[in-house]
Amino acid sequence: MTGLLLFISFRKDRKKTIQGLRKSWKAFENILPLFLSIIMIIGLGLAFLSPQVISKWIGEKSGWLGIAAAAFIGSVTLIPGWITFPLAAVLLKSGAGFIQITVFVSTSMMVGVVTIPVEIRYLGRKVAVFRNTLALVFSFIVSLIMWEVLK
């Protein structure tokens, strides 16, 4: 899709397109060091937080501590969805608490502690901290409602 739009753009106005691409490059180059650093941090984090470790923390009968651990792991790490959902499904089948799992799923998508430096750069510290805090609180609310509805 990007290729197609780029082609149309070139046909319409070559000079403007080049100008746009220059902006793209500038924006990309600007943020690249931060992106690469974040990727390395995620790698280091996930090397320790294997699915086995996560299962142990938020698995069966982990209770309140498990809910806290689920929120912590979900918030701090940036686990891609194609890992989160299968892992959540497996954990749920093996008897993990429903609230733990939904908190984990919700926070891992909405709350991003590792990516907060990028968020601060574009939106400022106040917004970044506030948005992530609200998202964390909201994740608990979602879990409770879903538990009420689906139990």
Partner: protein, 178 residues
């Protein structure tokens, strides 16, 4: 050259830490490098198109148009566009922020930007399909509906706590970065 080293010093420090980990614990170190390499591949495949689109958006979409679509008085239209833009996007959450910056720079309403980020993080279409296949459609649907309300509420609350002055600073910053 020195400038380049300075800009990437944090990244280089992380690589160094990973090398130390490799030395201390071969298995964990290798795992970490592998995950990072996979993610970097993603960065170089998915993120450049996002930035190209961002540049095209910047030159082709007029400020007036964006204000009409997503600006201060765009109302429900603005909210809908913010949700759709975020939901049809691809790529990790951290790629959403530069896009948010350009949208701000073009005159989008602040709360719509927070909705866009929320949608990008949570209601992406491919992710919803994937969620359905692993967790079941009831799980997905209930979460999806709750998320729409939650994302909107978070956006309005965030906008509310910002003073006009603080917002201006962010708009100015977006202008500088764009």
């Amino acid at each position: 050259m020195i400038n380049l080293l300075k800009r990437y010093r944090f990244f280089l420090a992380m690589v160094l830490i990973n090398l130390i980990l490799l030395w201390l614990n071969l298995e964990a170190g290798l795992r970490s490098f592998k995950i990072s390499a996979d993610n970097m591949l993603q960065v170089f495949l998915i993120i450049p198109p996002i930035f190209i689109l961002l540049g095209l958006l910047d030159i082709w979409v007029k400020r007036e148009t964006m204000i009409k679509w997503m600006g201060e008085s765009s109302g429900l239209l603005g909210i809908t566009i913010a949700f759709l833009l975020g939901s049809f996007a691809a790529g990790p959450l951290y790629a959403a922020f530069p896009v948010a910056g350009v949208l701000l720079n073009k005159g989008s309403r602040f709360s719509n930007i927070i909705i866009f980020i929320g949608a990008w993080s949570t209601t992406k279409i491919p992710m919803l399909l994937f969620e359905t296949s692993t967790m079941g459609w009831r799980f997905m649907l209930i979460r999806f509906i709750l998320d729409i309300f939650g994302i909107t509420a978070i956006a309005y609350l965030t906008e509310k706590i910002m003073t006009t002055q603080e917002k201006e600073i962010i708009y100015e910053k977006a202008n500088m970065l764009g």
